[in-house]
């Protein structure tokens, strides 16, 4: 007879073995990057991922053949995605025919591709240009480039209603066209307007005209971003006239610049002319939001002024650091690793539907998402060869809750989708920015439950408590999270404290005054007594001497 102990042991081991077999191995795909955020001290802390990879799409998945060096993405109002496939050489024969525009819908199904242009509506303009060429006002090379029916390295694309604007960089022009289909059913662009190198005298004669990116504002002005020009974006009116420059960066106040300013005070004009000029860094990319604010970024490594600017139509920057470092973009920490310096190089900006700003970092392949007040929300992506990491990022676009990132080296488009955590943060953030602090409390609490490192949640909760006049709770939440919030909460708390304990304070103050009076009078009397005694002794001594 086996003992009960043995039976029990067998049963337990059998159950455990069965359990082991049934569990199996759970394979789960983790993201190839770790989400992180920055705490109040400016140190990176791990955080939940706000965005994870949904899918990675290549040209073959779209159904238009392999993409080659795609350079830009744009979502129009009808949720159509335009891809500037700048290196496409498909069935072209010569070297000055390169690139196409691929148009897909939101789910990356091919709608059409635009491979060549149709100048049939621009006959008058063609004739005019030809006349100019014959008069010798245009060089042959330039003339050929202007009337080229193919693209040549189109690096920027923008859509305004039905009009597609393409920055055709090697052809030194920006073409505006509407998408049309020809007899054989292929897509072609019916040219509406061509913006070429301005002939105005104040367009610097030495600079070339190689449009990299393009955008159009509500008044149909065309802004062209050219990286060789440091004076800002080149602006054309809708008729194609050169209107000047827009939104130049400031010169960073480095030691050299300040020293040069000092030398200029003492040098003669001749000497100043020969000096190296300090010029601001160029714009690298831009975007425009629904309220007609233009966002520009610069990817210059050596400058951290005006990395991101939000400008109104007059070119005035709203995200300007007025003596404080309120705004910083990208990774604030510069990292040295194996002899190379890694610092953020923001190469593209995108403004989402709720005003959130996505910045794309060329150096690390990361996307930094900010809300419309420039508070950092999420960091995702990275460099590498896995899904969700990049080699050379080029462009970023967002629609609904998805973020699309274009990698030109891999020639793929990576679609990030928002996680549940991301949605909660976004909900809380939009409520918070609308001033609905109390409604935002619930999502903020949920955020903290999932990620207690999330800095902004404390600010949100603190403001909610401050609004509800629960100053102590507000102070708890603001403590080592926000100085200004804590200051406000503390001010009210102090006021309340003094009011509640007013009698105590009054008694203490009166007691102090009385004590001071009493002590000083006692000491004064003692001093008088002492002096009188000393005088007495002195007098007696004098008497003795006299006597």
């Amino acid at each position: 007879m086996p003992s009960i102990k043995r039976i029990a042991r067998r049963v337990v081991s059998a159950v455990l073995a069965a359990a082991m077999l049934c569990t199996g191995v759970v394979a789960y795909a983790d993201e190839p990057y770790t989400g992180y955020n920055y705490d109040w001290w400016g140190d990176p802390v791990p955080s939940q991922n706000g965005y994870v990879v949904d899918k990675v799409i290549s040209g073959l998945d779209i159904g238009c053949g392999q993409l080659t060096n795609p350079a830009d993405l744009y979502f129009d109002d009808n949720e159509k995605l335009y891809i500037a496939d700048s290196g496409y050489t498909g069935n072209y024969d010569t070297r000055d025919q390169k690139g196409r525009i691929v148009i897909t819908d939101k789910d990356m199904n091919l709608i059409t591709t635009v491979e060549y242009l149709d100048f049939s509506d621009k006959q008058e303009w063609l004739k005019e240009e030809e006349a100019r060429f014959e008069r010798g006002e245009l060089t042959e090379e330039r003339f050929q480039k202007e009337i080229n029916v193919y693209f040549n390295n189109p690096t920027g694309v923008f859509v305004d209603d039905d009009n597609v604007y393409v920055a055709d960089s090697e052809n030194e022009r920006v073409v505006q066209f509407t998408v049309d289909t020809d007899k054989s059913g292929n897509g072609c662009g019916k040219v509406v307007e061509v913006f070429t190198r301005p002939d105005a005298t104040y367009y610097d004669a030495g600079t070339t005209f190689r449009p990299e990116k393009v955008l159009v504002d509500a008044a149909k002005n065309v802004y062209v971003c050219i990286t060789t020009i440091t004076r800002g974006a080149v602006v054309f009116s809708r008729e194609g006239e050169f209107n000047g420059y827009y939104g130049a960066n400031r010169v960073e106040k480095t030691g050299e610049v300040i020293l040069n300013a000092f030398w200029k005070l003492i040098m003669t004009t001749e000497q100043i002319k020969r000096m190296k000029r300090s010029v601001p860094v160029e714009l690298s990319n831009f975007d425009i939001d629904d309220d007609n604010f233009v966002y520009t970024v610069t990817k210059n490594k050596n400058s951290d002024t005006d990395v991101l600017k939000k400008m109104n139509s007059a070119g005035t920057n709203i995200f300007i650091n007025l003596g404080y470092n309120e705004y910083s973009f990208g990774d604030p920490l510069i990292k040295y690793y194996r002899g190379t310096t890694y610092s953020s190089q923001i190469c593209d900006v995108d403004v989402g539907p709720n005003g959130e700003i996505n910045l794309l970092d060329l150096q690390t392949g990361r996307v930094f998402q900010y809300d419309d007040e420039c508070t950092l929300m999420f960091i995702f992506g990275g460099s590498g060869d896995q899904k969700g990491t990049f080699t050379t990022v080029n462009a970023i676009e967002s629609i609904d809750t998805n973020v699309y990132v274009l990698d030109s080296r891999k020639s793929t488009i990576t679609i990030f989708k928002r996680t549940e955590f991301g949605s909660i943060v976004h909900e809380a953030m939009s409520l918070f920015n609308a001033g609905k602090y109390n409604e935002a409390m619930e999502p903020w609490n949920e955020v903290l439950r999932r990620d207690s490192n999330y800095w902004m949640a404390y600010i949100g909760l603190g403001n909610a408590y401050l609004n509800a006049k629960d100053y102590e709770a507000a102070m708890d939440n603001f403590y080592f999270q926000s100085r200004s919030g804590y200051s406000d909460a503390f001010k009210s708390w102090r006021m309340n404290f003094i009011r509640e304990n007013f009698t105590l304070f009054a008694v203490i103050i009166i007691a102090i005054f009385v004590a001071i009076y009493v002590i000083s009078s006692i000491r004064g009397k003692a001093r008088l007594k002492k002096r009188a005694a000393a005088d007495k002794i002195l007098r007696e001594q004098q008497k003795k001497e006299e006597g």
Partner: protein, 253 residues
């Protein structure tokens, strides 16, 4: 000058604070320099520096209290004091200063009293004031630091019996001397670190090559070797000296 001063030692710093110019003269006349009180003040200076980082209210605390490190605080308080005293003494003995190290030390310590009081006031105030009212803290700071500087000038002037401009120049050069002292100290520390690393490398090397050797025995052996080398050098030098003396004696004969 008052000749009827008969204060206990701990009252002197406060008397000096009330009489910034006359006080030090009286201190000198009465020869009431007291090292114990001075050391207590320096200790307080250190304690207040620590409290300044840890107890200042969140709204006015701009130090990195996420990770508190006491070494920089020691350097900023005690080491600063010591280098000042040493630097000033080294400089002023060369330029007709009459102060001894002890007197300089006491005078400098007494001059720190207003600064310490100001810090304490600031720590208390910083917990009661909002961010807009930070001006009060700045005000207290400027007043007390200025007062300390005034006392320091007066103290140095008295202890060395200089005139005003001599004092100022000597103080400026003392700062230069402090910088030199600190540079030399850093150099020395790094040099000793190198020596330590060298010895440590030998130690590990020997330990790896002789697995049977226990580490304590190895330390004993290494100390023994060092002592032996020193002993041999000493003996050799003595022998050499004796030989030389003999030679001299021979010559004299």
């Amino acid at each position: 000058m008052r000749f009827d001063l008969d204060l206990p030692a701990w009252k002197w710093p406060f008397y000096i604070m009330r009489h910034p110019f006359e006080g030090y003269e009286d201190l000198r006349w009465k020869k009431a320099y007291n090292m114990k009180v001075a050391m207590i003040i320096v200790a307080l200076f250190f304690v207040v520096s620590v409290c300044d980082q840890l107890l200042t209210g969140f709204l006015h605390n701009y130090s990195m209290t996420k990770v508190f490190n006491i070494v920089p605080v020691i350097i900023q308080s005690i080491l600063l004091f010591v280098t000042w005293v040493v630097g000033n003494w080294a400089l002023c003995t060369l330029f007709n200063g009459e102060g001894t190290m002890r007197n300089i030390c006491v005078n400098t310590a007494y001059a720190l009293v207003p600064y310490i009081i100001g810090r304490i006031i600031n720590i208390i105030l910083s917990n009661c004031l909002t961010r807009d009212e930070a001006t009060f803290l700045t005000f207290v700071n400027i007043i007390t630091v200025g007062y300390t500087a005034l006392l320091l000038i007066s103290g140095m002037k008295t202890v060395h019996q200089y005139n005003f401009w001599q004092t100022i120049v000597s103080m400026l050069f003392t700062i230069v001397a402090m910088v030199i002292i600190i540079i030399l100290a850093v150099l020395l520390v790094s040099l000793f670190q190198q020596v330590y690393l060298f010895v440590y490398a030998i130690y590990t090397e020997l330990l790896y090559r002789n697995p049977s050797l226990s580490s304590s025995a190895l330390i004993l052996i290494m100390v023994g070797v060092v002592v032996a080398v020193i002993a041999i050098v000493c003996v050799a030098y003595t022998l050499y000296e004796k030989a030389q003396i003999k030679k001299e004696q021979k010559k004299l004969r």
